[in-house]
Amino acid sequence: MRSKLVATLAGVLALAMYSSMAVGSKYNLPEPQSIIARETYDMHIWVMWICLVIFIGVFGVMFYSVLKHRKSLGYKAANFHHSTTVEIIWTVIPCIILVVMAFPATKTVIAMKDTSSPDMTIKATGYQWMWGYDYLQGEGEGISFFSKLSTPRAQVQNKEPKGENYLLEVDNRVVVPVGKKVRIILTANDVLHAWWVPALGIKQDAIPGFIRDTWFTADAPGIYRGQCAELCGKDHGFMPIVVEVMEADEYTKWVAAQLSASAVKTSMHVENK
């Protein structure tokens, strides 16, 4: 009767844990939108399960002991104090578990670091406190703009109601085509920043005077939001990153619009001279 109850409770608990893992972005990593983000997401769930099993195992034993081996129940202390055999067993088993965890992680790390042969390359530059983007190579080459927080100051100061994308909205989004390998080159103008878009599974520090790179291939069109992830001073919390992924033909239209707009700007600039 009692063991049945324990089993039921354990089942309910496991189910609750599982569903809380599955309910999505509130309790877990955001819904993955790239192959790397997908692998990371699955790896996290997989490692959580391993941890949960070990946790229940270790604390099952410990709390059984806490409940049963009490002085108040008249339990007399045993006097054993070492066993080389069990020491070896509980050293070797964790090693095996770690190898099991490290194997898929190694494959993903190698894939993450492979920034070769991209379809397009964008340079992102961190400034205090905004991002600058230059499309260096591929379709859209030559596009260049700054991207700043567009949430009104009044919302931050609680004078206006806050919108759904409060602090996660910008004036100019980074636009990329779906399904293309996009290489992001990072640097910074002043202090360290970090370019992070959780749904795409990338985070990379932007370091003044140095170049770092990373890549993603977005699975589906959509708008993906992130934030600067390295403390960069006063407005560190106010320099979001917004990536808009478009279908190929829409992207082509966007590029044309951007390039003609910048052409107008350049010609006006020349005439003014």
Partner: protein
């Protein structure tokens, strides 16, 4: 703790010492100095805690309410520095001062006068840190890790912080040299290294780590100072330097540092668990080897703090594997504690509750540590609230809970009085509840994408932040209960019996009166 004054008996002429304030200024007695360390660290704990309350109050709701972003950054920076260097580390040195001589049968620390100096440096450094809030430009605001170039930008507050870190480092090095010398040279006859209590072992290993890494910290802050004022370019790319080099040097100190803050807790817990299980520590020698392995491994994992800074694939893989490997000796410790409890005859006084709470929550922090070690997952959670949750699970429910366990465990020996057991249990259960309320939800915040060190956040993070803030206020208030329990114990606690814990077997319980006299072990005990 102050009650040792005048309680010495049977030592007559040895007991002359100045009274009043001069007693504390000039003392070379390890018990007086230990007491001062403990009170100092508790005072700093309250200061750092007050800053935490400010941080959580600002984060209670979205929007900027009480702390402007710049001041918010000063709060997070000083909260970290004060808690690490002002509260946790000096508290462990306080325990070492009191307990190492008592547990190895030595009359005092090896360098008694230097011991006085290493304590009295601390209030100076603390004054610089706390005072930096009131200089033009305010306190340092670049995070407790003070990464350049941001920390090169700051004002006078950053310089005050650099000097404070220098002074704290000097104090720590002196303290650890003292501990090493005491342990290696002043053990009672018959106490071989492999008969030392676990607390002494963990402190011996910790002290070596401190001597190894504190000079590295001193070096890196000095380089930062010369970058700021004397035209060098160690960390300035425009002058040929590299900001990432700072991170490598800092974390070469910083990672062993986290084990400096946890190994003595392992020691305290390894004393408390056998006492209240009435059974010897299981696998003593494997515990010693595990501690040493953790210390050695801790020196080769530093770059796991820098997976997003960019490094070669083999670098990421090496630091991932090395970091995961630390789980093995740490696991051995947890298994040994469990085996110590197994078929014991347990009672659950406050020290035991805090020790079990420590194991339970520290293991959660250990699991999130393994998760953070896995590079792809770390790249997602690095610099988010997940990491905040992770290191508060190891530092608050780890180090701090172990410190509470130790304080309740040894206070009868120190003062000759008992604390109020009912209130002690309340302190434990309230701490346990509010701690988890504060920090458990931060795992979810981090996974969902909330960066750390931000004063304001998107509405999707609002409910968990509110829960976390309420938990933090509760946790903060609960610690005032600890202060009350301790003062109440020292002033008017019941007289402690000679052996308040019937399972205790170390020298301070078996060979000394309760409370311990002002001068103890003038003739060393013989250990068989």
């Amino acid at each position: 703790m102050a009650a040792v004054h005048g309680d010495a008996h049977g030592h007559g002429h040895d007991d002359h010492h100045p009274s009043g304030i001069m007693r504390w200024v000039t003392t070379t007695n390890h018990k007086d100095i230990g007491t001062m360390y403990l009170w100092f660290s508790f005072a700093m704990f309250l200061v750092g805690g007050t800053l935490a309350m400010g941080i959580r109050a600002e984060l209670y709701q979205p929007g900027i309410q009480i702390l402007e972003p710049e001041l918010f950054n000063q709060f997070t920076t000083l909260h970290g520095l004060i808690m690490v260097f002002g509260a946790i580390m000096p508290a462990f040195v306080g325990f070492a001062n009191w307990q190492v001589p008592l547990m190895i049968g030595a009359p005092d620390m090896a360098f008694a006068r230097m011991n006085n100096w290493s304590f009295w440096l601390l209030p100076v450094a603390a004054t610089l840190l706390v005072g930096s809030f009131f200089v033009p430009g305010g306190a340092a605001a670049g995070g407790w890790t003070f990464y350049p170039p941001l920390s090169t930008q700051g004002g006078l507050g950053v310089d005050l912080m650099i000097f404070a870190v220098h002074i704290l480092g000097a104090s720590s090095i002196m303290g650890s040299i003292n501990i090493i010398t005491t342990i290696l040279n002043m053990r009672a006859p018959g106490m071989t290294l492999m008969k030392m209590p676990m607390f002494v072992w963990t402190w011996l290993i910790t002290a070596y780590l401190l001597v190894l890494v504190m000079p590295v910290l001193a070096g890196v802050v000095t380089m930062l100072l010369t970058d700021r004022h004397f035209g060098t370019s160690f960390f300035n790319a425009a002058g040929g330097g590299d900001p990432v080099m700072f991170q490598h040097i800092f974390w070469f100190f910083g990672h062993p540092e986290v084990y400096i803050m946890i190994l003595p807790s392992f020691g305290i817990v390894s004393e408390v668990i056998p006492t209240f299980s009435r059974k010897p520590l299981f696998g003593y020698s494997s515990m010693v080897y595990a501690t040493a392995s953790i210390a050695i491994l801790s020196c080769v994992v530093w770059a796991h703090h820098m997976f997003t800074a960019g490094m070669p694939t083999v670098g990421q893989l090496f630091f991932m594997y090395a970091t995961m490997l630390i789980a093995v000796p740490t696991g051995v410790k947890v298994f040994n504690w469990t085996a110590t409890m197994w078929r014991g005859s347990m009672t659950f006084e406050t020290p035991m509750l805090f020790a079990i709470g420590f194991i339970f929550l520290f293991v959660i922090g250990g699991f999130s540590g393994v998760i953070c070690a896995i590079v792809p997952i770390d790249i997602q959670v690095q610099d988010t609230y997940y990491v905040i949750a992770h290191f508060h699970y190891v530092l608050v429910s780890g180090s701090l809970f172990a410190l509470f366990a130790g304080a309740y465990y040894w206070i009868p020996k120190w003062t000759g009085r008992m604390y109020n057991e009912t209130l002690g249990k309340w302190h434990f259960w309230l701490s346990m509840f509010f701690f988890n309320m504060t920090f458990f939800v931060q795992h979810f915040l981090g996974l969902a994408g909330m960066p750390r060190r931000i004063p304001d956040y998107n509405l999707q993070f609002a409910d968990f932040n509110m829960i976390s803030s309420l938990g933090a206020f509760g946790f903060g208030l609960t610690q005032l209960l600890f202060l009350y329990i301790m003062i109440n114990c020292i002033r008017s606690g019941e007289k402690a019996p000679q052996l308040p814990w019937d399972g205790a077997t170390t020298l301070e319980w078996t060979h000394l009166p309760t409370p311990a006299p002002y001068h103890s072990f003038e003739n060393p005990p013989i250990v068989k």
